[in-house]
Amino acid sequence: MTQEAAHSFQPAASGSSARSSSIGFIRRHMREYGILLALIVIMVFFQFMTGGILLKPINLTNLVLQNSYIIIMALGMLLVIVAGHIDLSVGSVLGFVGALAAVMIVQWQMNYVLAAVLCLGVGGVIGAAQGYWVAYWRIPSFIVTLAGMLVFKGLSLWLLAGQSVGPFPGSFQLLSSGFVPDIFGVGKPNAFALLLGVLVAAAILFFAFRSRMRNRAGGHDDEPAAFFYAKNLVFAGAILYLAYLLATFRGLPNVLIVMALLIGIYSFVTSKTTVGRRIYAMGGNEKATKLSGINTERLTFLTFVNMGVLAALAGLVFAARLNTATPKAGLGFELDVIAAVFIGGASMSGGVGTIVGAVIGAFIMGVMNNGMSILGIGIDYQQVIKGLVLLVAVIFDVYNKNKG
């Protein structure tokens, strides 16, 4: 290896400079950690302002349930936005699929598992129908999905004939309002939730260590030790604490498990797989990616199919949570989802963004909604504040980018 290859920002090994190198490291990675810091600050602020209500077990459970469908859609939206597109139709698709599920399960008495599978399929077909025009006809996604937004809003009205349809059978509701039973029979606190919390925290530490060791062995590591330990211990501690809180209420919501699995899968796909690489490259420079032998049309198409399936899943979760399908379901959700992805650091022009960022972005919006509602702040001010937070988050991101 040549001398130039030595990283100019290799941290000094001596202990005395460990702290300053940590601070320097955070400063350089402000774009990555800034958003997490913002979430923590916002949570601490509302925890304080609401007199501790925010992190009460029941409220925490609510927070998860309230935001699950936004987060599920944010995973798909992140891919769409990284690919350089946008999907404005997800709110309407969520509403439409919810309506379809209600018609099939409530009116036609269809088996709810079969209905759910069919609904996911319909979501995929909707995604494919929109993705086809975007990918193969090069019609701007903004226009195609704006059309989709109107079409599916109209179709759900038609399906429901303007009425609310419900209630769903209890077993279908479990998708959203159910909790994983305590297989150890302890009940309170829920031992299974605690155990899972411990396992997840241990897994996080294990993988972090393994990756650090491998990086060390490969000679490419610039994360100061102090920062590494602090970050992972705080992270694992937070998981344990949240698991404990949830355990003292009713345990782990079913939808949390679904969400956590999806977050894990999508993180892996975006950061570790060739498909992930291709999507980022395509968003960064579509022409160069195409000329590298990558089928960019098919990739764009699949990104939209994936978005459709996730919007359908979110539609099922939302319908199960409300226990009814209404023509107004999903109204404006696309904006929350898109905002979450941008707050999480994705770039409008494509090629940039992370799954974890989008999830944190969704929680920032969710915690603010929840906190402001507890404080009794009117819906008028809530909208204004959320709008400003979105703007500030993006300005912060652009500022850091220009500085860097």
Binding site: E4, R214, H220, V275, R277, G284, A288, L291
Partner: protein, 510 residues
């Protein structure tokens, strides 16, 4: 003779880098002053200091223009004094007309209402001055690059220019357009307009320059006066790279084998005007270990030929046959072309070559992701090892493989693109303008890579508008004009004159 511009002891630092270190430069009134240096030597930075892109106070030193000390706060200040800079990347709005572009921001208007009569009239005068025969209403997108360059110059003239700065104006022009542009500079000189010409093309500089300032690593190394004595290209190169470069091309000992790559009766049509043949019944072959050059003027159809062969990336109504090692192969998509061992290094690295915001590490494996993965999951360590290997082998100057491509110099960006295609393990490599806009030192390294590829038994095709380059690297040269191949000759027999005459004679036939 009076001095129109004097820049004294200019020092400009960016965080961590001294881009300019005590640079001085003096331009006499009515001269063409060439500014040369390797990429990253500080030429563009110096011109940005002069034109006020970096405002007064952000650098040390003094600028005197026509005897007055100037403290420009922005481009508009320097333009008011008559210093106009034309950047390498043209700043024209493609969908507006020539006239609208020329007077953009400086509209001929009264009370906000544009006086189209005056606008078009003045535009016609300006176009006449630069020798461009186009209607003022023509949209920029309908003009070729050479003509666009002339529009930029006409725009400069509309602003009472005293000192014209041109940043590599001929880097994307063909021979004829380049000559026309240089003639124009000489004409301006006769009218008393001074110019600063940044260029890598030493033959052009030799033709028009009155004085040459050489920058190296942010310092002014020398100023050569071309009026007093004749300057040898070798002298300039020595000053630029800090060492004498006796051979501009690495020595080769070609071992040429069987025909490895063959294109038969290849025809492609224009994507918008599908009745127009851009590539017309072209056949050629390349042998194992051979470097074949394709010469021609800009617009001859060389890039279109290469891109249409490479997975039909250009054109419609494509017909013809491609053979690798005597077997017909499917090149209907880029992926299939790559699978059959054919790779194409684009002439436009920023648009077609690199994902600029991604790191070197992520760019290199893009055309061969299977090489760093099990097909689905990427092996980070393998990826890193590959990136480092190519970075070292091609000597890509960078702080680490985690550096983003956008922050690399042109030569190093080109090396990253090359690395990407080398990692795809081609049997046949088509290089389109492989040294455009990169400096002499980096050019030599690219030539060395080409020689190495041929020596390792690949078939290499080089498309270039720089004839000395083609003559230097090729074993055999095809000449292309107006979509057809109009000649073929061994490099040993070839000369610029012979190639030019083939092109011109073929044009007369029509």
């Amino acid at each position: 003779m009076t001095t129109i511009l004097e820049m004294r002891n200019i020092t400009k630092t960016f965080p961590g880098v001294k881009a300019l270190d005590n640079v001085s430069m003096k331009v006499e009134a009515g001269e063409i002053h060439a500014l040369v240096g390797e990429n990253g030597a500080g030429k563009s930075t110096l011109m940005k200091v002069l034109s006020g892109v970096y405002p007064h106070g952000s650098y040390d030193g003094e600028i005197r223009f026509e005897g007055d000390e100037c403290k420009f706060a922005g481009i508009s200040d320097s333009e008011k004094r008559g210093i106009i800079i034309i950047h390498q990347e043209l700043a024209l709005v493609p969908l507006l007309s020539i006239a609208e572009n020329i007077f953009l921001g400086n509209e001929r208007a009264s009370g906000g209402v544009i006086d189209w009569g005056e606008t078009f009239g003045r535009t016609r005068e300006l176009l006449a001055k630069v020798g461009l025969k186009e209607a003022p209403q023509t949209r920029i997108t309908d003009l070729g690059l050479g003509k666009q360059q002339l529009v930029e110059i006409a725009k400069a003239l509309s602003k009472e220019v005293k000192l014209l700065i041109l940043d590599e104006p001929t880097s994307s022009l063909n021979e004829t357009d380049s000559q026309a542009l240089l003639d124009l500079l000489l004409e301006f000189k006769a009218r008393g307009i001074s110019s600063i010409l940044i260029s890598h093309k030493l033959n052009e500089i030799g033709r028009v320059a009155d004085a040459i300032t050489v920058l190296r690593d942010g310092s002014s190394v020398s100023t050569l006066d071309c009026r007093a004595n004749t300057i040898e290209e070798g002298d300039i190169i020595r000053d630029m790279v800090g060492r004498s470069m006796t051979d501009r091309f690495p020595p080769r000992d070609p071992k040429i084998g069987e025909v490895m790559f063959e294109v038969r009766n290849w025809t492609a049509h224009h994507p918008l005007h599908s009745d127009r043949k851009v590539v017309d019944n072209v056949s050629f072959n390349v042998r194992k270990g051979e470097v074949v050059g394709i010469a021609g003027l800009m617009g001859a159809g060389r890039t279109e030929l290469a891109m249409s062969v490479f997975g039909r990336s250009y054109g419609v109504g494509i017909s013809g046959e491609v053979l690798v090692n005597g077997q017909p192969v499917d090149v209907s998509t880029v992926g299939r072309a790559i699978d059959n061992g054919i790779c194409y290094v684009t002439e436009d690295r920023k648009t077609y070559g690199l994902v600029l915001d991604e790191t070197i590490r992520r760019n290199i494996p893009l055309a061969n992701l299977d090489g760093i993965s099990n097909g689905i999951v990427v092996d980070d360590h393998r990826e890193l090892a590959v990136a480092r290997d190519y970075r070292d082998r091609l000597r890509i100057k960078s702080s680490s493989v985690a550096q983003e491509a956008v922050n690399l110099s042109g030569g190093n960006q080109q090396k990253v693109v090359l690395a990407k295609w080398l990692f795809a393990e081609p049997d046949v490599l088509i290089l389109d303008e492989p040294t455009r806009g990169i400096d002499v030192g980096a050019k030599y390294e690219i030539y060395a890579i080409i020689a190495e590829l041929a020596a390792s038994g690949r078939a290499v095709v080089v498309i270039s508008s720089e004839m000395p380059e083609l003559l230097g690297v090729s074993d055999r040269i095809y000449v292309m004009n107006e979509g057809r191949f109009v000649g073929e000759l061994p490099a040993a027999d070839a000369s610029q004159e012979k190639i030019m005459s083939m092109i011109i004679r073929s044009g007369h036939r029509n």
